[in-house]
Amino acid sequence: MTVTLTGTTVPVDGEARSPIVRPRGRLRPGPLTAGAYLILLIVAVVRPGLLAPGDPLAADPLAVLSPPGAAHWFGTDHLGRDVWTRVVHGAGHSLTIGLAATAIAVTAGVLLGLLAGLAHRIADEALSRSFDALSAFPMLLLALLFIAVAGPGTTSLIIAIGIATLPHHARVVRAQTLLVRRAEFVEQAVTFGLSRTRLVTRHVLPNVLGPIPVLAVIGLGEAVLAASGLSFLGMGPQPPSPEWGAMLSEGRNYLQVGWWISILPGAAITLTVVALTVLGRHWQARFDGRQPR
């Protein structure tokens, strides 16, 4: 599954965001469900004990590979660990990696994109071509390359995904910067005698950064997916950490006797990515002044 992204642009002329065109925030079933799921996810990250009081690492040799039932709602794995408890406690791992990676990608992407958008032509060319070069690699390949050099583990996973998703943010910010800096209102502000620094901080920056939070939400879904994928390959948190991708990988060997081990972590990954994308797209549509679908 890939999550494709489109650039969100601020309607610089302002007309498109007039109150008549801008749809009111009505609650639609899609974004509403996505929101509810994400709230549940946040609870799982912050207070996993509330949803699953047990210990995710506690093995029960008497209940190895027991199918879903009253004692274990989603069954147990090959070591007799409760799958539900592990998935709930694993949310922290998966989401933290995704959030940290997105934070790196957005921060670095915004800084580099702004630099490219505001700099003179040569610097812009150099930066833009390096974004192109980075984008030319498939994201996972780039991340794998980094991990191959730095070694597996949570920290290198975060940095690897951060670098791999950075070019996208940088490109959007650069395009947006070019658009805003040539907008009539910025030119008009020149006639007020504002210095270059003030022009950038007061008019260019705020209008460039507007769509970034929305893009970050969609990017977060992508990062969570990448994190799970790399963990599945054994590049992330090492066992017995309850990370979703790693759990999928562990369950793979028991699919014929215990299909339930892989179902829940897989569903958690899918639902998280879908929920983040749905919500991100909803906000993006509202931000663009379109009717959210």
């Binding site: 109150p19 502000a189 007020f192």
Partner: protein, 546 residues
């Protein structure tokens, strides 16, 4: 003979979540063969809805109700889309304002016209090309065979409009409905299109002309209907209505038209002395005398090239303190490029600008910065000149002295809003939620905030309705008198410039062809181009005369 259009008690309403909008409220309308009827009104008067209703294009969700709605003797009430398709083109041709959006950009002009011919089975496939060329020839498109193979973007605005008229008359409908057919065009092109329409009328076509411009319809219309808020407030023969209007609103509209004869008086009705009373003509406040020797701005030998193309060629002029210099020219004449150079937003390739005795061009921006606040700019589209995140108060406050305290700023903003005729409650509103006239007032308030010695106005009123334009022009005249500000006033509208300017500069193809006091240039033009501009200018004085 049955009239082409016979409408009685037409109502068009649009339901909205907040209640219905009554766009047209019970109007009567007839158009006979060989007659030109004009419907005149401002934005929101319901004139376009009326025209579109006649071809079944009132819009989605529109409720149309009428006691009578006949097209060429045929009752069209309750027609379904399929029935309308037979009528459109065959019975009534429609010409809209902007031919660039009305013509399909992916098809040649010939294909567009040919489609009408095949849809209505006028000619067979083999005769199509010949017939298309003949139609283009009829609307005086030069080299019709070659033009028929071109795409809309390859044609000039005037040729596009001609091509659109050709497609509208292709199926030889007896009625032609033209909705603002000349609004997007330059004055000389506008005159040609009006001539073409008059020619079609002489050929027996019934013409329904929709326009906001009384002077334009006065050139061609036999009868004029004045619409306001969905109702017809006055109607009559063109000459009578323009010369002796009886309704105060018509008079107000006529008074609002800037021209040579409106110099020195207010265009907008200052005070209504009572319902039905004639709006009084009020003189503008007296201005401080222009100090001719004291030059605020001097431009010498300005030249700007883009590649091979020279857009501004050796332009020189001066603006004295308190003087208003008009800069007129058609689109592509280079007048906006001159404005950007004067505003210090564009460097000329040759020549230089001196502002307040200081070198203004070919210097680093930091040398201009101390004087920036003395030279302000008002553009045609105020909204795009406002940061989309700012409120009205924020927009204005930004151009105030940075040294002021928060409280002083707020006071200044309220005072500036008052000076441009806006209430303090607008301070926290978003410019997007204001009307066009209010937005331009905010832009003016922002421009006068630092008490500039020169304001460059680039087409500041060309996007406004005539009565709103009148108010904004009056406001500019008042502020100019109060502050002694010099204006560089750029416009394609000779009437506006004649009304406001002291001296005028006429530009064509990047060069100044004539300049001098506005009275001299406009009454005794020496250059052929100025003369052709003036000849093309529809004026109320000549309107209605055969």
């Amino acid at each position: 003979m049955t009239p082409l259009v016979a409408v009685e008690d037409l109502h068009v309403t649009f339901p909205t979540p907040t209640g219905e909008i009554r766009a047209v409220r019970g109007i009567d309308l007839t158009v006979a063969r060989g007659e030109c009827v004009a419907v005149v009104g401002e934005s929101g008067s319901g004139k376009s809805v009326t025209a579109r209703t006649l071809v079944g294009l009132a819009g989605p969700g529109a409720h149309v109700r009428a006691a009578r709605l006949d097209l060429a003797g045929q009752d069209v009430r309750g027609h379904r889309p399929r029935d309308w398709r037979r009528i459109r083109g065959r019975l009534a041709g429609l010409v809209l304002q902007d031919a660039l959006v009305s013509l399909d950009p992916l098809r040649t002009v010939g294909a567009e016209i040919g489609e009408v011919l095949t849809t209505h089975d006028i000619v067979g496939r083999r005769e199509r090309a010949g017939r298309t060329a003949h139609l283009l020839d009829q609307v005086h498109v030069p080299e019709p065979e070659r033009r028929a193979r071109q795409y809309p973007h390859q044609l000039s605005g005037g040729l596009r409009q001609r091509a659109l008229i050709a497609s509208a008359i292709a199926a030889e409908p007896p009625l032609l409905i033209a909705d603002e057919p000349t609004t997007a065009l330059d004055v000389t092109v506008q005159a040609q299109i009006l001539e073409l329409l008059a020619e079609r009328r002489a050929a027996g076509l019934g013409l329904l002309l929709i326009s906001h411009d009384l002077a334009v319809v006065g050139q061609i219309a036999d009868r004029i209907l004045v619409m306001r808020d969905g109702e017809i407030v006055e109607q009559g023969p063109a000459e009578r209505l323009l010369r002796a209007p009886t309704h105060p609103y018509t008079r107000q509209l006529l008074d609002a038209v800037p021209s040579a004869s409106s110099r020195g008086r207010r265009l907008s009705a200052a005070a209504r002395t009572g319902p039905g009373a004639a709006p009084a003509r009020v003189a503008l406040p007296v201005r401080p005398p222009v100090r001719a020797g004291d030059t605020v701005l001097a431009a010498a030998g300005l030249t700007k090239r883009y590649g091979e193309h020279t857009v501004v060629r050796d332009v020189s002029f001066t603006v004295a303190r308190g003087e208003t210099l008009g800069l007129v020219g058609e689109s592509g004449s280079g007048k906006s490029t001159v404005a950007r150079i004067v505003a210090g937003l564009l460097e000329p390739d040759a020549g230089d600008v001196t502002f307040e005795g200081t070198r203004w061009s070919a210097v680093a921006e930091r040398h201009r910065r101390p004087l920036r606040r003395r030279l302000q700019v008002i553009s045609q589209d105020p909204v795009s000149s406002f940061d989309p995140r700012y409120t009205v108060g924020g927009v204005i406050a930004e151009n105030l002295d940075p040294g002021l305290t928060r409280g002083e700023r707020a006071e200044h903003v309220v005072e500036l809003l008052r000076r441009v005729g806006l209430g303090p409650q607008l301070r926290d509103r978003h410019p997007r939620s204001l009307s066009g006239g209010q937005r331009q007032r905010v832009a003016i308030a922002r421009a006068i905030a630092p008490r500039p010695s020169l304001v460059v106005c680039d087409e500041p009123v060309s996007a406004l309705d005539v009565s709103v334009q009148a108010q904004v022009l009056d406001l500019l005249a008042e502020l100019r008198a109060a502050d002694g500000t010099a204006l560089l006033f750029i416009s394609h509208d000779l009437g506006v410039v004649h009304h406001l300017a002291d001296r005028v500069l006429v530009m064509r193809d990047g060069a100044v062809v004539e300049q001098g006091p506005v009275g001299d240039v406009f009454t005794l033009p020496r250059h052929d181009y100025t003369r052709s501009l003036l000849d093309a200018l529809p004026s109320l004085v000549t309107a209605g005369r055969p």
